[in-house]
Symmetry: C2
Subunit: 375 residues, 2 copies
C-alpha cells in the first residue's frame, strides 16, 4: 500500500467541487475544504483526505443535512448557544468561532457552545481562526464514544480533543490533541495500512489490551465494548484518570453547557448529535498584547534551545511541526494513501465527477483490504 | 515510619495559631489554613501538613513576605492582572479568585492572572471557591521548574496543575491534576517514606529513568538537570507531547498573560516569582443553570454506573474520592506522617508555641532520615 502525492491545488479543487456538488454554497464548500486540507497540510493525515469518505457517507445517509441553518438559541455579550440542526460540522463550527471572535473583540472574551452538529474536522482549525485575528483561540469537541473511563470496559467519552492557539513569533503556539492516548483517526490509518496498534493504545470488548485496529474499530462501531485509553493509560499509576479528566473538561464545554448529547449517546437515531465548544480571548484585556506575544515567543525559544536528551536533536514547541509540514507539502505535494484514493474514486463516481480531470492517468488499486466502518 | 491521626480541629487550631504568629491577620491565617487542610481532607497528603515546613522556611528566608499587599495592575469588566508582591500564595490566590467570581457574577465570565506570588497550595481550592457560588471555577499555577519537555533533559516547566470544578449532584465535579505524570509533592512523600519511585515518573540529571526520589529532588533543587515527565511519558508514542502541551496551557494563563516569570526562571534572587491563573464562568450565560447542573449530574451518574473492567468494582467520577476522603477523615482523623510531625515540632519551637498543647503526650521520632530541600 503506497502513497500518491498531489498538489494542494488539485485536492483543493476536488474538495470544493465535491462539496458544491453535494449542494453546499461556494463559501460553505470553501470552509469545509479549508478545514479538511489544513489537517493534511499540518501532517495530520487522520483528519484530512482520508476522512472525506466519512462526510460523503454521512451526507448520503442524511445524517449530515446540507441545507441546515445553525440557530442561535441563547446569547449574551460574552456567550452563545447554537443548535446546529444536524448541519455540516465545519460550517457550524466556523460560524460559532466567528461569533466567539466578534464577542472577544467587543467584550474581551467570547464563549460559544454548540449542540446537534456533526464531526467538525480538526479542533485546531477553529483555535487558529482566532489566532489569525490576534486573539487566543480555544476549541474542543466531543465525538462518538471511543474512550473507556478509568476502570471501565465501555466507551463513554469521545476522543474529545482540546486545541489552543495563540500568536507568537516565528511560529504561533498551536496545540491540538485528543485527550485519548491516540485518535480514532490514527486507528483508521493503522487499519488502512494493516499495521498493528502500539501497546497501551486500546482495549478489546472484554477490556483486555489489543493491537488489532480492525477489531477495536469494529467493536466501537457496533457498540460491543472496548475502545481507546485516556492519555495516561488504563490505570492511575501513569495518570489515566488525568486523561479522563481532560476529556471531561471537553465534554463540559461542548455537550454539558449546550445541553447537548454526551459522547456516549451520540450517533443515535440516524443523527450525529456532536457538540462543540469555542472560546476566544483578546490578550489586550491583560494589558499590552504585543508584550504578551513577545513574552510567549521568548519562552518558546528558550524551550526549543534548552538541552536535549541523549540521542535527541530537537525539542519542538507546539505548532512548529505544523509550520514545517505546510512548507514541505506545498513544495512536494500532499501524500494520500492508495486506499483513500479508492474512496475518492467512489466519491467521484457517486457525484458524477471526472476522476481523471483531477488525477490524470493515476489508477487506484482495484483490490483494497480496507473493510472499515466510517460512522 | 508511621502515621499519626489528628482531629481536624487540632490541626486547624495549630495552623491558624502558627500563621497568626507569623504575622498574618486572623482572616489571612484562616484562608491559608483552609487551603492547607482541604488538601489533607481531600486525601492529597502531598499538599497538606507536609507542606507546612516549606511555607515556614520560605517565610523565615523572606521569600514569602507576610505583609505584602496584592496590587491590581490592570482591569476590565471581565479580567484583571494582579502583582502579588511576593506575598503568601494562598492569600493572593483567594483575592484573585474572589475578583474572578465577582466579575463572573456581573458579566458572566472573569479571568484573573497573577504574577510575583508564591506556592498557593492545591489549585482545586480556588476552583471550588467558584463552585460554591454556583459557578464553574478554573485555576492553574506554574511552579518551580520540574517538568522536562519532550526530548529535553532540563526541567523547563512546572508541575503546572489545572483544576476545574462545577456544581453537580450528589458530588460536584472536581478535577485537579498536575500536568506531570506525578507531582513534586508525591516525590516528597515517597522521599519521606523512603520508597522507590515508580517506573516512568522521573529522569536523572542525564535524562535517564530514575527511581531515586532524593536524587531527583536534589538535582531539581540544585538545577543540575533531570526532573519529572509530562503526563504521557518521555516520548510521543504514549502522548508525552500532550502532557507538555497541557503544561503550556497552564503557563499561558499564569506566567504569559500576567507578563510574569515562566517556570524555568522562578525561585531566583531569593524570590518565589510564581504565577497563577483563575477563571469563573456563570452557567447562566448558557441559559438554564439548573438544567445544566442536572445534565452534568446525569452524565456523571451514567459514567459511575457503566460496566467495569475485569477485576474492578468501581468507576469514579472526579470529585467523588475527595467527598469520601473528607467523610473518612472527619470521622477517623487526618493522617500525618512522623517525619512531618518532626517538622511541626521544629515549627512550634521556632514560633515558641507549645507542641504538647496540641498533641499531648505524642513525641515525634528524634532521628529522621529526611534530608530534603524545600525551596
Amino acid at each position: 500500500m503506497g502513497y500518491q502525492y498531489w498538489s494542494y491545488e488539485t485536492l483543493n479543487k476536488l474538495c470544493n467541487d465535491a462539496f458544491e456538488k453535494f449542494g453546499f454554497s461556494k463559501e460553505e464548500a470553501g470552509i469545509i475544504t479549508d478545514v479538511l486540507l489544513m489537517s493534511d497540510l499540518y501532517g495530520i493525515e487522520s483528519h484530512g483526505m482520508q476522512r472525506l469518505v466519512r462526510y460523503y457517507k454521512c451526507i448520503e445517509k442524511g445524517m449530515i443535512k446540507v441545507d441546515a441553518q445553525p440557530e442561535i438559541l441563547f446569547e449574551t455579550p460574552v456567550s452563545a448557544v447554537i443548535d446546529g440542526h444536524d448541519g455540516m460540522g465545519q460550517v457550524i463550527g466556523h460560524k460559532a468561532m466567528e461569533m466567539a471572535i466578534q464577542k472577544a473583540k467587543t467584550t474581551g472574551i467570547g464563549v460559544v457552545t454548540v449542540r446537534n452538529s456533526n464531526h467538525y474536522g480538526i479542533a485546531g482549525y477553529y483555535a487558529k481562526m482566532a489566532c489569525k485575528e490576534g486573539l487566543m483561540g480555544i476549541s474542543c469537541t466531543n465525538t462518538n464514544a471511543i474512550m473507556v473511563p478509568t476502570y471501565g470496559r465501555t466507551a463513554m467519552l469521545g476522543t474529545n480533543p482540546i486545541a489552543l492557539a495563540m500568536p507568537a513569533e516565528p511560529y504561533d503556539f498551536f496545540f491540538d490533541a485528543a485527550t485519548t492516548v491516540v485518535t480514532r483517526g490514527k486507528l483508521e490509518v493503522y487499519n488502512k495500512l494493516q499495521k498493528p496498534l502500539k501497546d497501551g493504545w486500546a482495549v478489546d470488548k472484554n477490556g483486555h489490551p489489543s493491537n488489532d485496529a480492525a477489531d477495536v474499530l469494529g467493536n466501537i462501531s457496533a457498540k460491543r465494548g472496548g475502545g481507546i485509553m485516556p492519555l495516561g493509560g488504563s490505570t492511575e499509576e501513569l495518570g489515566g484518570h488525568k486523561g479522563y479528566g481532560y476529556a471531561m473538561l471537553c465534554e463540559i464545554f461542548s455537550s454539558i453547557l449546550s445541553l447537548g448529547t454526551t459522547s456516549d449517546k451520540t450517533g443515535t437515531g440516524g443523527r450525529g448529535l456532536i457538540c462543540h465548544g469555542f472560546m476566544a480571548i483578546d490578550p489586550k484585556i491583560f494589558g499590552d498584547a504585543e508584550a504578551i506575544k513577545a513574552h510567549l515567543s521568548a519562552y518558546l525559544k528558550d524551550l526549543r534551545e534548552s538541552p536535549k536528551a541523549d540521542g535527541q536533536e530537537r525539542i519542538y514547541t507546539h505548532g512548529e511541526k505544523e509550520v514545517e509540514a505546510v512548507a514541505r507539502m506545498m513544495k512536494d505535494g500532499i501524500p494520500v494513501n492508495d486506499n483513500t484514493m479508492v474512496e475518492v474514486l467512489d466519491l467521484c463516481n457517486y457525484l458524477k465527477m471526472d476522476f481523471a480531470s483531477y488525477f490524470g492517468d493515476y489508477q487506484p488499486p482495484v483490490e483494497t483490504s480496507f473493510k472499515g466502518n466510517f460512522y
